[in-house]
Symmetry: C2
Subunit: 305 residues, 2 copies
Amino acid sequence: MKQSAIRANEFTDDPYPSRNGIPPAIIERKDPVVYGANSTASPLTQTQLEQYREQGFLVLENLFRDNEIAALQQEMVKLRTDPQLHNAEETITEAGNGEVRTIFRVHALSGVFSKLSADERLTGIARYLLDDQVYIHQSRLNYKPGFRGKEFYWHSDFETWHVEDGMPRMRALSMLITLTENYACNGSLMLIPQSHHQYVVCDGETPENHFKASLKKQEIGTPEDKFLEQLVNRGGIITATAKPGSVILFDCNLIHGSNSNITPHPRSNVFFVYNAISNAVTEPFCNRPPRPEYICTRRNIRPID
Amino acid sequence: MKQSAIRANEFTDDPYPSRNGIPPAIIERKDPVVYGANSTASPLTQTQLEQYREQGFLVLENLFRDNEIAALQQEMVKLRTDPQLHNAEETITEAGNGEVRTIFRVHALSGVFSKLSADERLTGIARYLLDDQVYIHQSRLNYKPGFRGKEFYWHSDFETWHVEDGMPRMRALSMLITLTENYACNGSLMLIPQSHHQYVVCDGETPENHFKASLKKQEIGTPEDKFLEQLVNRGGIITATAKPGSVILFDCNLIHGSNSNITPHPRSNVFFVYNAISNAVTEPFCNRPPRPEYICTRRNIRPID
């Protein structure tokens, strides 16, 4: 552990160190949030751009027509109940009861979600905000069952993508498209507004094959209590409630998490991570082999047309 | 198990059977919700009475002055950090990390909470709704910590009090006094409105010393998924959000639960169960020894003056 700390500090020039022996801390973000400079070409309004820049997220409603939403919901049910997919490496089941919780790489596994991931209404926003061509760094269909849906602890996606995938800089964003209603009470996404302006250096070291455990329950790469308190004292907590077919757009470094779901209402979303092509992944920063291709696009990086 | 089923059906006349071999079902409530007949003597308005009767709960704000609330909060901190109480049988700690989650019998352990439990602003409502003198069947200080507060699954309190404590009929109610802000996102109490009009017969049998497990995580005495779905389809789910010092009043048979709490905001409430003196507990309906006195008042039943 000592050796890796020395390596990270002295022999690399890592702008976003984490889990490498450096004491946990909050440091400043070194990258823009909105890369697009020409606001007349923006697919978002000036107010939306400002909210995204300052708060780190946007909820966009009515981007899709009802028949489009119905087709996405149908595809969600189809994939989740596909017996072949149940045993695929892309499929993660709930710790405890074996229910399908996540299917990765849906932008490749499903024609419907592939088309959605390349839809100009989404990619136009991603290209503008990142001011570059974009590719899908990760995609997944999330299904949080009713009654026994588990919480997911606070984290910055970028911290994981940087440390475990080798994503160099903060030039990526997530779009979550809601497929069921996201209520305040059914384990919906909670965001800490403004938390994307800093980077939380996390404690610990990345274990081998960490993704196998962290996809069920993240315990490493999570900010310390005192830092979460600081961030919540400043920005509060927003629960992103939305009707089906809404888009929740958030910066790669915005801290988020979710509570458990004991309600009968399952919660299902499809999730696309758009990364700037100029920010394509390099070697992981944790001295571990890269995560599998279905979690992190590495061999198949190509810009969306 | 077969034998106990026969006993419950043939040799007893239990209006609210549960966990005794009878198949899970929803049956009708056989008791009034509001016992008080004379509405001119009511400490609640006609609208409040109707809401309580129909929906099964009420949130009362501004019942206490700011200095009273501050004193209650101070007492809560004192009890929770009292090293002697930490090891008392009345104190239940969080599964996993040992943090204080509940202190029972606070109406006897603490002068401040004793006085509160006998406060006319609370007892006047309880006496009116139950149309009888009342006593404290159970009291507790609940503390759901921030960051790692666990969910508590759906249940009717009456089901447990009937089966495990021998409370004969539905003639009791709970008052929860909020000591910290109950937000929608910090594991606040969720209620299923109107669920108190039926009784959900639960599956299984009551294990020996069930209270030791059920106070940390309730798994027996919880309604089946399909019944919860039915009840939620009719009444929905209300998250009882409230400022400190509010009173959440609910019928003994209203189904409730709470999600986990990963936010930094702890959630603390004091909880009094008022039972009609004419409804004092008898022998448990589960062929097990009674739960301890600190969970269920049995030896010390006396009406509040």
